[in-house]
Amino acid sequence: MDAIILQILNGLEKGGAYALIALGLTLIFGTLGVVNFAHGALFMLGAFCAVVMRALLTMEVATGEVESTAWGTEIAVTTPYVTNLFGDFGNTMIDWAVPLSILLTVPVMLFVGWAMERGLIRHFYKRPHAEQILVTFGLAIVLAELVKAVFGANPIPVPEPAALGGMMDFGALFGSEPDKITYPMWRFVYFLFSATIIIIVFMFLKFTTFGMVVRAGMEDRETVGLLGIDIGKKFTFMFAVSAAIAGLAGAMYTPIISPNYNIGMEFLVLSFVVVVVGGMGSLGGAVAAGFMLGLLQSFAAMNEVKEILPGIDQIIIYLVAIIVLLVRPRGLMGRKGVMET
């Protein structure tokens, strides 16, 4: 039972990441009709916003002392400049680098999204999906190589704040034996964070005039345009918002997986499967499928399951995708006609 609870928690945390990326993908597909294969790269860029924030906070200044090296030269002894300037508060800022990186991630990713849409994607609106896929995939490779050129190929550790780095005692929360069911606190924070972002996006689309116009535009772009609304501008903004969501998902994920230039690709394929299973263009479907596939992936990795079906953990998501596409091509919550002939 304990193992099942832990796998549920794993699935929710993993599903949170899938859902956030899939939500952005669906928003872009629903508004602009573009299949954005560079979305994983946006997740990666967000992760590197956290890396940059930490690097900025840990930039060092020389203390004036020097130490000798094993190869006979001397190097300067350094200390982080924020510690030099603010003492303990500076150390606290370094410790909270990941949450603080949200302040950097949101504007940077909004700009990246805007620039991407205005500079490249809009030229492909009327081109076939195959060309959109090729150009966005190419862009993803370019962005990944740029990041590798600057930051190298190795993963870069970005720790969570010490206060959120311990274990959470779920057993004690539900009246069970203490220390029986424990779970990394940051992973739970990540789940709460992703759930919060998803709720904010849905509320924004549901209860604001801007959101209503966007939803109307997703249903019938031409009619909304005939009402004198510049739907194109709103869709550009939504593209930027989608980029920011992916970026936030990446930034907050850095304490879970040390980011490297390839982290976006690892999530991209899974997220597309999530979108297809949920239903192309269905925001609710993307979120539901994200969490569902996260949970399925976690359960499939249980030893009890693998003893019956060896290797199932590596194919479960694709297996579900095949079954859904065969039985219900439009996905679980997709609109009738989408992906159907």
Partner: protein, 455 residues
Amino acid sequence: MSLIKTNIDRRGVLKGTAAAGLAAPMFMNGKAWADAHAYLNAPTGKSVTLGFNVPQTGPYADEGADELRAYKLAVKHLNGEGDGGMMNTMTVKGGKTGLTGNGVLGKKVEYVTGDTQTKSDAARSSAKKMIEADKAVMITGGSSSGVAIAVQSLCQEAGVIFMAGLTHSNDTTGKDKRANGFRHFFNAYMSGAALAPVLEKAYGKDRKAYHLTADYTWGWTQEASIAASTEAVGWETMKKVKTPVGAGDFSQYITPVLESGADVLVLNHYGNDMVNSLTQAVKFGLRDKQVNGKDFTIVVPLYSRLMAAGAGENVKGIFGSTNWHWSLTDEGSKAFVKSFGQEYGFPPSQAAHTCYVQTLLYANAAETAGTFNPCGIVEALEGLEFDGMGNGPTLYRADDHQCFKDVLVVKGNENPTSKFDILEVVEVTPAEQVTYAPDHPMFTGGELGECNAGA
């Protein structure tokens, strides 16, 4: 080893030549040898070209970059530039090396580079290009066993020497060994043989181990080696679970460990997988647990300092093994660290070390054989005993072309004094303890075959 064989083959001819060399001056023997035997890419001008095939893109690109730095340094030293590095400390049994800083066999050493991308097919393509278009007489490098095995096989078919870079699978000099291939780096069996006694001393005999293993050739052989060596000291292997390469998030594989009753987690992962699985295992609180009345512990059998940096604080106190470490204080290591550090501003990795050493060993073998003919090189390297290269007295065993030397047991440094000080050496395991018979079951299934000179 007898120098006379009843069946006449290339190796037999070579051995006969070597025997004749005993009675003749070396230059005479080499010259006669070279004239008598044609071989692929025989250098005709004033230079000889070596092919450095390293991962320049892909997940091991940083390790590949360090390998390339080491190769460039080796070339510099061979051509008489710089301080000479390990050329000043290297000795071979029976005297000094033939390396004088005048190139190799009087020819200036030049090089071409290829990008393995840590993919077997890409590595074979770049090696093929260097052999066919650039006329490389030797291929070296790499940071993956899958790649090493693939390129070694290609070099055997083509008829050039392959001096492996970082490859740790038993299979490279086991079932997939080739006459034209040589490995200086240690292997998974050696890791197990060196680690097990240290683990026994640190954690006792009564331990239950749970393995998470990268699902490819290196992971399989390391899992088998570590399980066998720890079982030999009394540990029980509870479970062996294969994980997909590049899984990223290992949480679903770590969670069952908590329920398994195991009190040790062995992570047979390398590169990003190692960084992620170790970090996540620590964050799941495994090291804070008490199981079976003992503190839960984690073991990473193969460490890379470059990659361990990615795991940050999480490596502290965790045991593993490594081929070489820059903090060693023998004359060879000091000379290499000095050369490398002054050239690049930071210490070399174990990958850089093995690549540098392989280049000097190849060059010395050419000088000894008096030719770049692969069969002459094979003859010179087989059974070579050398020292002064950072690992103590070392034997290039003729039976499988594997180097036998001291192995380092390391652990994550609890109190690092610099950002390079990630690992600390806790024991230098003597070569005898990690030596195995050529017909050891973990290494059987393949034949070395005959050397191929390609012409």
